[in-house]
C-alpha cells in the first residue's frame, strides 16, 4: 500500500510538472511589446548620442531591474547616477539636465524654476523664480517654501546620510549637525535660504560659486511639503511633482510608478521629459546574469544600473553580430586611475612619481578593464565627455602604450633612486579589474626596479578605513592606490573638485581625494569657483588637470565605457553626456 502511495506521488508530481511545462511555456508578462524596434534597423552604437527609434507614442510598462538596490529613492538622500536619472520622472528639481541626446543632455535647463539662477554679490547669492501652476500629486500648489524645506532637510546627514554635501559645504551659516527635525521652524537656515514670496527662493553662499545651476539640478532641490515629510521613510513615497508617482515600494522586491494626474506638461516646456510609458517598474535584487539574459530575451527593457552588461554577456554580445547591433558602447564620465600618494617616501619626489607614469603599461591597464570596449587609454584626468575638457598626452601614453622604460629610469636617476624602490599598491578585494590593474602595474614597474606588493582591502571600508584614511595609507606604505571616479555632473567642478582639492581630505577617512595635495591646484579651484564666464572657467579646470599631470600626482588608466544592451522593446532611446546611460526621462516602448 505504502509503495503504491510513493509511486502515485511521484507520478502525480511528474504529471503536474509536465503539464505545467506543456500548457504553460513562458508566461506572458505585461510590458513592452516585442516589435522589431518600431521599424528602425538596429545597429551598434545606434543610441549613443542620437535617438534610436524616435517615438512620441505613449503606453506600456517599462520594466527595469537592478542587481541589488541603490541608496534611496528619496530625492534628498541619493547619490547614485541611475537614481538622479530616474528621479526626474517623479520629482522636479529647480533645474534639470535636458532629456536630449549627446552634449545637449549635459546642460542644466529650468525645470521647477522659470529660468536659470540669477547671480549677485560675486556669485555668492543666487535667486530663482518658481513656475506657477505646478502641483504636488495631492493637488497642493508648489511654493518656494517647499523647495527651501527640501534643501534644508537634505542637510541632515544623520537621518538622510546618502546625498552629496554640496549644500552643507556652500550654504551660509549652517549650524553643525543641522537637522530640520530638531528645527521645524527652519531658523537654522534663515541666513542661507530666503523665500521672500511663494515664487521666489534666494540662496546665500559662504563663498562664490559660479556654476550654481549645477547645484540647483541636484534632486534635493525638488520640493518636499514639510507636513508630508516622513524622514528616513520618505523614500517609500516621495510626494510627486513629476509625470509619475509612486504606486508601490518594497525595499526587497522593487518599486512601481504610475502616471501622476496632477502633472501638467504645459508647465514643463524645457526639460524634454517625454513620459511615454504608462507605468515604470523596477525590480530589486535580480541576479546580474539573469538581468542580461532577460534583456537578451526581451523579457526586460532596461538594466537600470546603466553601467553595462556582465563580462560573460559582453563576450557573447560582441561575438554575435545580431546581438552587437543591439548594443551601445557608452562613454562614461568616469576615470579609472591610480593615485600616487605623495605622503609615502620616495613618492614625495616628483621624479619618482614621474618614473611610475613612464614605466606603467597603459595597454595593460586598458586590458584589465576588458580592452577598448571597457574604455580608452586615458592620457589625463578629465574624460572627453566633460564640458570644456581637453585631452593632452604630455607623457606619451598613446605612443608608448606599454610604457617607456628609458624615460622611467632617467626619472629614477633624478629622484635619487636609480635602482628603484619598494612600495605597496592598494586595490579593492572584490574588484577583479582593480586586482588586474595592480598586477599589471606590478609587472610593468618591476622593469625599472619599482617593486610593488599588492594589498587588497574590503570594498565597503576601502575609503573609510583603509586607502581613504591618510594615517592608515601612510603607515602601510600605500604609495599607489587603485581607484575609480565618476563625475557628479559633467563639468570641471563636478568631475575634479572631489578628487584633487586637498582641502576635502579628512583625517577621519571616507575620502574621495586619496592623496593629491598640490597647493597651486587648491588656489586654482578657488579661482574657478568665482569665475562666472563659462569659457574662462572651463579653461581653469583644464589648467588644473594639466597641473595635476605635471606634478604626476595620479596615473590615469582609462576613460571608462560601458556596453549597454538595447532590446527591441525600446523606443525613443538614447544616451547623453548628462546621464551617460539611457535617458530615463525620455525612453519609451516600441508599440505594435
Amino acid at each position: 500500500m505504502r509503495w503504491n502511495r510513493i509511486t502515485t506521488a511521484t507520478a502525480v508530481s511528474a504529471a503536474v510538472a509536465l503539464s505545467l511545462v506543456a500548457c504553460g511555456g513562458p508566461k506572458a508578462k505585461p510590458g513592452g511589446s516585442a516589435s522589431e524596434g518600431g521599424g528602425a534597423t538596429p545597429e551598434f552604437n545606434a543610441a549613443v548620442g542620437k535617438i534610436f527609434n524616435p517615438s512620441d507614442k505613449k503606453g506600456g510598462t517599462l520594466r527595469m531591474a537592478i542587481t541589488q538596490n541603490w541608496d534611496s529613492t528619496d530625492p534628498g538622500d541619493t547619490y547614485y547616477g541611475l537614481s538622479w536619472n530616474l528621479v526626474r520622472n517623479y520629482v522636479r528639481p529647480l533645474m534639470t539636465f535636458a532629456a536630449k541626446p549627446g552634449a545637449e543632455g549635459a546642460k542644466p535647463v529650468p525645470d521647477l524654476a522659470e529660468a536659470p539662477g540669477v547671480p549677485s554679490d560675486d556669485a555668492k547669492t543666487w535667486t530663482y523664480k518658481i513656475r506657477k501652476g505646478i502641483k504636488f500629486e495631492d493637488g497642493t500648489p508648489v511654493t518656494s517654501k517647499d523647495v527651501k524645506y527640501a534643501v534644508a532637510r537634505s542637510l541632515d546627514k544623520v537621518t538622510l546620510p546618502n546625498g552629496p554635501t554640496y549644500f552643507n559645504d556652500f550654504l551660509l551659516g549652517i549650524p553643525a549637525n543641522y537637522s530640520v527635525y530638531k528645527d521645524p521652524t527652519l531658523a537654522g537656515v534663515a541666513k542661507a535660504i530666503e523665500t521672500p514670496d511663494d515664487n521666489t527662493i534666494v540662496f546665500h553662499l559662504n563663498k562664490p560659486f559660479a556654476s550654481f545651476d549645477y547645484f540647483a539640478q541636484l534632486p534635493s532641490t525638488a520640493p518636499v511639503p514639510q507636513k508630508k515629510d516622513t524622514g528616513a521613510k520618505y523614500k517609500e513615497h516621495p510626494i510627486a511633482t513629476g509625470p509619475y508617482k509612486f504606486e508601490s515600494y518594497n525595499a526587497n522586491t522593487g518599486i512601481s510608478l504610475v502616471r501622476n494626474d496632477q502633472y501638467d506638461p504645459s508647465t514643463d516646456p524645457d526639460s524634454g521629459r517625454k513620459a511615454l510609458p504608462d507605468k515604470i517598474t523596477v525590480a530589486f535584487n535580480v541576479e546580474g546574469t539573469d538581468i542580461d539574459n532577460r534583456l537578451l530575451a526581451g523579457d526586460l527593457d532596461v538594466d537600470i544600473a546603466g553601467t553595462g552588461v556582465q563580462p560573460e554577456t559582453q563576450a557573447k554580445i560582441l561575438a554575435d553580430p545580431k546581438l552587437k547591433a543591439h548594443a551601445d558602447n557608452v562613454p562614461a564620465p568616469r576615470l579609472n586611475f591610480t593615485v600616487i600618494n605623495s605622503q609615502v617616501a620616495p613618492l614625495d619626489n616628483v621624479h619618482c612619481r614621474k618614473a611610475v607614469l613612464y614605466a606603467a603599461d597603459h595597454e595593460g591597464y586598458q586590458r584589465a578593464y576588458g580592452g577598448p570596449i571597457g574604455g580608452d587609454i586615458a592620457t589625463n584626468l578629465m574624460p572627453p565627455g566633460i564640458t570644456g575638457s581637453e585631452q593632452f598626452d604630455d607623457y606619451g601614453f598613446k605612443t608608448d602604450k606599454n610604457g617607456n622604460v628609458d624615460k622611467a629610469k632617467q626619472e629614477l636617476q633624478q629622484c635619487g633612486q636609480p635602482n628603484g624602490f619598494a612600495m605597496n599598491i592598494a586595490y579593492r578585494t572584490d574588484r577583479a579589474k582593480e586586482k588586474a590593474v595592480a598586477e599589471t602595474l606590478q609587472q610593468s614597474l618591476k622593469r625599472v626596479g619599482i617593486n610593488l606588493t599588492t594589498k587588497p582591502y574590503p570594498t565597503g571600508d576601502y575609503t573609510k578605513l583603509y586607502a581613504g584614511k591618510p594615517a592608515f595609507a601612510k603607515a602601510n606604505k600605500l604609495g599607489l592606490i587603485v581607484y575609480s571616479w565618476g563625475a557628479d555632473w559633467n563639468d570641471g567642478f563636478g568631475f575634479l573638485s572631489q578628487i584633487v582639492d586637498s582641502r576635502v581630505i579628512r583625517e577621519a577617512g571616507g575620502n574621495t581625494n586619496l592623496g593629491i595635495r598640490i597647493p597651486e591646484v587648491d588656489t586654482m579651484i578657488d579661482q574657478a569657483l568665482k569665475t562666472t564666464d563659462e569659457t574662462a572657467r572651463n579653461k581653469i579646470w583644464v589648467d588644473i588637470d594639466k597641473k595635476v599631470m605635471e606634478q604626476a600626482a595620479a596615473l590615469p588608466g582609462i576613460w571608462a565605457k560601458g556596453l549597454l544592451y538595447r532590446p527591441d522593446t525600446l523606443a525613443n532611446v538614447f544616451t547623453n553626456d548628462g546621464q551617460n546611460m539611457y535617458d530615463y526621462a525620455a525612453i519609451g516602448l516600441a508599440q505594435k
Binding site: G25, N69, K157, A176, N252, D290, G510
Partner: protein, 337 residues
C-alpha cells in the same frame, strides 16, 4: 513525553540566546578588540564626503558609543519586548520580536524576514519533497539492484549531483530550459506574487529541480548504503522467512529501519535551507532569506545579518526538535528505550 518536550523547548530557547550572544560578539566585540572605535564602525553607515562630526553623530544614533553590554541588552530587549525607533520625522514602535533596523535603509528587519520566509519555505519545501522522493527511491532501487548497470548508472548520476555546485547547475539549467527552450520562467520572479498555485509551482520548478538534484544525489547514496546494510540484517531474513512479500520486506522492514539516519539528515538539511538557500536564491533571483543574507553581508548591515543568523538558528533548532520527536514514530526501538 510532555516533560521531554518542555525540556527540549527550554533548551532550544537557551541555545538561541547563546547564538545571539556569539553572533553579537562576532560583529560588535571582535572589531572593538581589533582596535576599531565607535566612529570607525559608524563610518560604514554614512554617505560620501561627510565630516567627523556627522560620523560621530551617526555612531551615537546607532548606539555604538554605548558599552557593549548595553548594546546587547538593547538588542535582546527589542527581541522580547520591542523598542521605539526615531526615523527623523517621528518615532515608531517596533513590536516584539524587533530585530532592529537596518543601518543603511533604516527599515525594520523583522518584516523583511517575515516577507522572505515564505519564499524560502516554498523553495525548500518543494525541493525537499522532490529530493526525498527521487533520492530515497533511487537509493532503494540501487540497493535492490546492487551491482547492476542500473545501479552503477544511478550512482554515477548521484555522484555528479553531489559534485556539481548549484551556481553551475542552476545557470546551466536556466540557460537550457529557460532562455534556450523557454519552458520555464525567466528568473527574477517572486513566486508569492502568483495567485494561482500552478503558476507558483511553475515559477519554482527549475529552482526546485536544481536544488533537489544536489540533495537527491546525497540521499540516494545514503539510502543505498543504509538499505544494503539493513537488508542483510537478521530481522529482514526473519521477515522473508515469515513469508512476507518482497515489497513488504523492503518497505516495512528494510526501508523503515534505514530511514532513521535519513530522517536526521533530512531535518538538518531542511532546517539549514530554511535559514536561506543562498546559492539557489541568488542564482534564480528568489527574494528569500538566503538572498537577504548575501545582501546584508555585502553591505555590512549588521542588524540584517543578526536577523538572518537568528532565523537560521531557529529553524535548525526547530528541525532538530521535530526530528527527535519523529524518531519515536519512525523507529519503534526509540520508543521502547
Amino acid at each position: 513525553m510532555l516533560a521531554y518536550l518542555v525540556r527540549r523547548v527550554i533548551g532550544a530557547v537557551i541555545l538561541l540566546f547563546i547564538v545571539t550572544a556569539v553572533t553579537f560578539s562576532i560583529f560588535f566585540l571582535v572589531p572593538r578588540l581589533g582596535g576599531a572605535t565607535a566612529d570607525d564602525l559608524a563610518s560604514r553607515y554614512v554617505g560620501r564626503s561627510v565630516g567627523a562630526e556627522q560620523i560621530h553623530e551617526t555612531a551615537v544614533r546607532l548606539g555604538f558609543t554605548d558599552p557593549l553590554y548595553v548594546q546587547y541588552g538593547r538588542f535582546v530587549k527589542g527581541l522580547v519586548a520591542g523598542t521605539d525607533y526615531n526615523y527623523g520625522a517621528g518615532v515608531e514602535r517596533c513590536p516584539a520580536p524587533c530585530f532592529g533596523y537596518s543601518y543603511l535603509t533604516q527599515t525594520p528587519v523583522w518584516p523583511d524576514l517575515v516577507a522572505r520566509i515564505p519564499v524560502t519555505a516554498s523553495l525548500a519545501g518543494g525541493a525537499a519533497f522532490i529530493w526525498l522522493v527521487t533520492g530515497v527511491g533511487t537509493g532503494i532501487i540501487s540497493a535492490l539492484k546492487r551491482g547492476s548497470i542500473l545501479d552503477r548508472s544511478l550512482m554515477s548520476v548521484a555522484l555528479a549531483g553531489v559534485s556539481l555546485p548549484i551556481f553551475f547547475t542552476g545557470l546551466l539549467s536556466l540557460s537550457i530550459f529557460s532562455y534556450g527552450l523557454g519552458w520555464t520562467v525567466q528568473g527574477g520572479t517572486n513566486p508569492l506574487d502568483e495567485t494561482n498555485p500552478l503558476w507558483w509551482a511553475y515559477d519554482l520548478i527549475l529552482p526546485w529541480v536544481t536544488l533537489a538534484f544536489l540533495y537527491a544525489a546525497a540521499y540516494a547514496r545514503l539510502t543505498r548504503a543504509g538499505m544494503l546494510e539493513t537488508m542483510n540484517e537478521d530481522f529482514v531474513r526473519t521477515a522473508r522467512a515469515k513469508g512476507l512479500t518482497e515489497r513488504d520486506v523492503v518497505i516495512k522492514h528494510g526501508l523503515r529501519s534505514a530511514l532513521t539516519p535519513i530522517l536526521t539528515i533530512f531535518g538538518l538539511d531542511l532546517g539549514l535551507l530554511m535559514g536561506g538557500a543562498i546559492l539557489t536564491e541568488t542564482t534564480f533571483s528568489l527574494p528569500g532569506i538566503g538572498q537577504y543574507a548575501v545582501i546584508a553581508l555585502q553591505a555590512n548591515d549588521l542588524p540584517k545579518v543578526l536577523g538572518v543568523t537568528l532565523v537560521a538558528a531557529f529553524f535548525i533548532v526547530l528541525a532538530n526538535l521535530i526530528v527527535d520527536l519523529l524518531y519515536a514514530v519512525v523507529d519503534p526501538r526509540v520508543r521502547i528505550s
